[in-house]
Amino acid sequence: MASILTALKEAGETILKVAEKKGLNEAEAYLVSNNVLTIRLVNNAVFESKGVHDIGVGLRVIKGNMLGFSSTADLSKKSLNKLVDAATSTAKARKLPFKYSFPKPRKIPKVAGVYSRKLAELSSEEAVELAYDMVEASTAHSKKIKDNAGVLNVVSYETSVLNSHGVSAKNRGTFFEASLSATAKRGKSVSEGSDATAGRSLKELKPQDIGEKAAMMAVSGLKSKKLKEDTYTLILDYEPAQGVIGYISYLVSPMIARLYFPLFLDKLDKKIASPQVTLIDDPLMPNGVGSAPMDDEGTPSKKQIIINKGVLKKFVYDSFYGAIDKKKTTGNAIRASFAVGVSSFPGKNYNGEPIPFPMNPYFKPGKWKRNEIIEETNKGLLVRRFHYTRLTNPTRGDFTSVLRMGLYAVKNGEVVGAVKKARLLDNLLNLLQNVDAVSDKLVVAGSWGDYAHTPVIRTKAHVAPID
């Protein structure tokens, strides 16, 4: 680790010197080393094992009141020189109508449990076996399980951020996500189930649990009934509740809100959800799936309340959007893939400017036990998976998701049986305002590169059957 970070830091120092020599007022170098290992499972077998080793640098420069950005994966001196020129060329004509400066150095706190040497050094052989354990556990659960597909992604990253004000901070982390989809068959009946989790250390990875839970869900859906189109009480289990957190995260980013999802833009300090809903961003949470001691501009992380008892209290900021809105950075500069809704690269991304985004958001747990929420529901649906979830009108909040698997009827406080595929068609604000119960325990849930700690929530929404 020391050698990579030292090399990154040296490259960063070179860039700052070149920038100074070329007369730039400020420069900021964000250097990354990513290692990503992916084991992909399909048709009960290992389909492909793939790795990425990626080193590069993103450079922001300020000249006068102009801001520029460029990046390169070539850390040779010649290339770094060209990088400074490219960043300067993007700055031309990008005049900022406000005063902007990169963050100043501040003390970085420590966060426990975000780096695991064992995970970082996991061998390809061990990774393949761990991934395949999910398939074996699923198949062993029932003879009705006929197919399994899934993934194990293991990511380790090291970053270094340096700027002209003297910020010189380094960071490292590890992350895994593991998921499995199982298909059960009995006669003509076919049903799917899935389970997924993510974590920061190897000890959190329990492939047998994932395989077994996916298989259980698949088998439980073999006998299912079609529902009638109606507005239902919905118990959103961990994964769909995370799906809701995922969309709120987009909505409280001032950049994404301005460009793509303006639903919350006019709702600061307004009631957007029921009093049961409090959304916290806590990157200092030990072992947090999105925890980090600092953001990707080198600003120290901090815990903050975004939605307090249903009232939108703040948007999260990096230094740039903070300057636009005359607010201080909240330590939420994320260097992630740019495309909204598409997490195309699981490591750190040096190819783009920072995006303000919640780091480790979660709904504050309530007082209910998960089983109490079910017991206290007279008639409703237990939703265990969202699929193809979309905010179809990002101004109005139209919200849709395909309830592809893991959908159950709840009657008189009991889960009485599986329900065939359906589509949720409602409005995100309605969904949030109808929340009347939040469970007491946080569980890591999500899918396809997007995970959070979340409780179970109960709400109401319109659901229609899918033929």
Binding site: V42, E48, S49, A73, P97, V128, A149, G352, H387, W448
Partner: protein
């Protein structure tokens, strides 16, 4: 020796100046050679050099102005019938050796759990160099100049105070790629792509609407000279404004609907393109986007005689253009559906061997960091012989559904709901009431069988963000078709 031959490029096709690549091409040979020496049964390698530009302007302010340069290598190995892949940006011999070694090790480790070893359908080892047609190189226009233009286009979206938000996003990509494999292929492709997406959000009292338009192609900056972009932007703004006065549509079951080419583009993408990917047909995407309802139905009738669909990478100027895929297979027009009969899928060399068909060049990766997947190139509905005016004139009661918005599709691509930007009610052969917040819903085979008229003119539109895979790869494709008439349920979207 075998590998050295791979670098003798057909001089007739050697359009690309060797210096232009500014890449260490010998590394490609070295990577393949090294992995082969380790014992890989097959190796291929992509050495890529990417230049990307991004400009985002919203409400007169530049939100993003980016130039990226990156280059690296992706090595794919087949060992004991299992795939391994490793990419690196470390283009030293040490870095390449390490990448080849890891790709080999990953494949070997995987092979323990591959009950049916991968077989590759044979293909010719092509040695060719080609490039996308480009009149005005993206890098020949100063970034500052582009920025000024995007700011102007965004400004033009604001046609009145009713436009509360404007957004203009420009992307430019230049990709130099070398593909070599252990069978002797050597293919160089110099590609250039660019697109601009314009969006206007309008508001009047409690009513909010939006309208967007994307212009793009495979080529250089000349497209923005061919299109009057200021006019395109102001038309987009006017459309968003006009939608505020449009009427909300009422739900009508089994209505006659005429789809324009823009709406047809998203429909063909979602309910024909994705389910035609052979990996998806084989259940290999089950854990992610899903499967395909028509698995095992090749040769069966799934639609009316008016339904024909193709995937064709060979169409110059489209976002899905290429002549050789990322497995070195020569591209051709793939017939997916012909006169209502399911004819074939998009394939990799591996899935071609499983299906017992010729490989048809369906494999692509977004960058060297990703393993190739079966992807759409330009997927579109085939032409008919109607004129657009005739379609409308001969419709007593129906709807003209115009321009794609959002899809909501089930995992088998069977049940679909896709919203449109606008629609018009048709009464007695004439367009009448302007409608907003409209979506169509149907079942794929039911809709396919209902298609009863198709126009002659096919238009292929740019779709720059098609997602697939894990880690996700968002790829640029072309989609489109002619106007089609069929039957579907018209939904009012709340």
């Amino acid at each position: 020796m075998y590998f050295a031959k791979a670098f003798k490029v057909n001089s007739k096709n050697a359009y690309v100046n060797r210096m232009e690549w500014s890449m260490k091409e010998d590394l490609a040979l070295f990577a393949v050679e090294h992995a082969s020496e380790l014992g890989a049964d097959y190796v291929d390698m992509r050495l890529e050099d990417h230049y990307n530009e991004l400009i985002v302007v919203a409400n007169g302010k530049v939100q993003r102005g980016v130039i990226n340069r990156r280059r690296g290598i992706g090595v794919r190995t087949l060992v004991n019938g299992a795939w391994g892949f490793q990419s690196t940006t470390d283009l030293t011999k040490k870095g390449i050796r390490q990448a080849s070694k890891i790709a080999f090790k990953l494949a070997k480790a995987s092979s323990k759990h591959v009950p049916k070893p991968v077989k590759l359908a044979p293909t010719k080892a092509h040695k060719v160099s080609y490039k996308a047609m480009m009149k005005n190189d993206l890098e020949n226009i100063a970034f500052e100049e582009k920025l000024k233009q995007i700011i102007t286009w965004e400004k033009k979206l604001h046609t009145s105070k009713k436009i509360v938000r404007g957004l203009a996003e420009y992307s430019g990509l230049k990709i130099n790629k070398v593909f070599v494999n252990s069978e002797g292929a050597n293919i160089r492709f110099s590609n250039s792509l660019t697109w601009v997406s314009l969006k206007a959000d309008s508001k009047r009292a409690a009513t909010t609407q939006f309208y967007d338009k994307t212009i793009g192609h495979c080529g250089g900056y000349e497209i923005y000279g061919k299109n009057d972009m200021e006019k395109v932007a102001s038309e987009t703004g006017h459309k968003a404004e006009k939608l505020l006065k449009a009427k909300a549509v009422k739900t009508e079951k089994d209505a006659t609907v005429i789809l324009d080419n823009d709406y047809a583009a998203l429909l063909v993408h979602e309910i024909i393109g994705h389910p035609s990917e052979a990996d998806r047909v084989l259940g290999r995407e089950a854990a992610w986007a899903g499967t395909t309802w028509w698995a095992g139905k090749i040769g069966e009738r799934i639609g009316s005689d008016y339904l024909t669909a193709y995937d064709d990478p060979t169409i110059k100027g489209t976002l899905g253009y290429y002549r050789y895929d990322d497995e070195g297979v020569e591209a051709e027009r793939k017939v997916l559906i012909q006169k209502g009969v399911l004819k074939g899928h998009m394939h990799s060399r591996e899935t071609s061997a499983i299906f017992g068909v010729e490989p048809n060049a369906g494999m692509r990766a977004i960058t060297f960091e990703y393993i190739p997947l079966i992807r759409m190139s330009n997927t579109f509905f085939g032409e008919g012989n109607w004129k657009k005016e005739e379609l409308i004139e001969e419709t007593k009661h129906g709807y003209l559904i115009s321009c794609m918005r959002h899809p909501s599709i089930d995992d088998k691509r069977y049940n679909w709901t896709i919203s449109a930007q606008e629609a018009y009610e048709i009464k007695n052969g004439e367009l009448t009431t302007h409608l907003r917040d409209v979506a169509l819903t149907s079942i794929a085979p039911k809709f396919f069988k209902s298609i009863n008229a198709v126009t002659k003119k096919v238009e292929i539109l740019p779709l720059p963000g098609c997602g697939k895979g894990d880690p996700m790869q968002a790829l640029y494709v072309g989609n489109g078709g002619p106007y089609l008439r069929g039957v579907a349920t018209v939904l009012g979207v709340k």
